[in-house]
């Protein structure tokens, strides 16, 4: 029998991996990977809470929206990374200082 806490533990581990990537990586593509991992960790929580605590399919619907938004976001981020690479010849985010205040 798999309890709610098991799913939440997997989600917490995945979230920690995503935060690790955001903290340490400087390559823009790795940052995109980290963000996708974080979104997936949150989605697991939605589905698990929906299955254990709520009879209607509200959480599943929210996850459908979340997946669609993550896809749109990935397309835009990838386009921005390509443009930044074209301008700077680099995808190291610590070198991209045009927007620095």
């Amino acid at each position: 029998m798999i309890a709610l806490s098991d799913y939440l533990a997997v989600s917490g581990g995945l979230f920690a991996v995503g935060v690790y990537g955001l903290v340490t990586k400087r390559n823009a593509m790795r940052l995109v990977f980290s963000v996708e991992v974080l979104v997936n960790a949150a989605n697991i929580n939605f589905i698990a809470f929906n299955r254990f605590l709520w009879p209607a399919a509200l959480g599943q619907t929210v996850v459908l929206f979340s997946i669609a938004l993550a896809a749109a976001e990935a397309a835009v981020i990838l386009a921005i990374v390509v443009v930044a690479y074209r301008i700077h010849d680099d995808v190291d985010v610590s070198q991209l200082k045009n927007l620095k205040g």
Partner: protein
Amino acid sequence: MVDITDAVFIAAAVVTVGGAIAALEAREIIYGAVGLAGSFFGVASLFFLLDAPFVAVFQITVYIGAVAVLILFTVMLVREEGWFKDSPKALAQAAGVVTAVALALSLVLSFTGSALANAPLQASAPSFVGIGQILTGQFGPILEVLALVLAASVLGAMALAKVEREGSP
């Protein structure tokens, strides 16, 4: 005794977290993208275990079919040295590992310690019909806005990535 559901759960959990770690730590970013696709697949199998087959198939279609392929395509299209180097400082690396372990420990301990940890399953799993009713009823306006957001983001991505050539109309 481990029954088949538990075995599938453990395998899915290992694939999910291991794929995410491989995505961030693989030397070549291409292999990282493949690891990320593996992680998405593990999450989809967790959704299957949670009786959400519709969301699981949606996850496979959109994440593995679109996002992972888009990332792979972008990485291979712009196949340049600059994309592959990634050399975090040792101090930042250590700080990241400590942060991640502390975060994972605190999250897992608070989840397992909470009163929700042993909540019983709902009597019946949410059905497709329920998703459709919520999507077209209560969430109808949001669905429309989401369609606009998707269109705008795809148009924006295309406009950004377009190569401006001298003399082109």
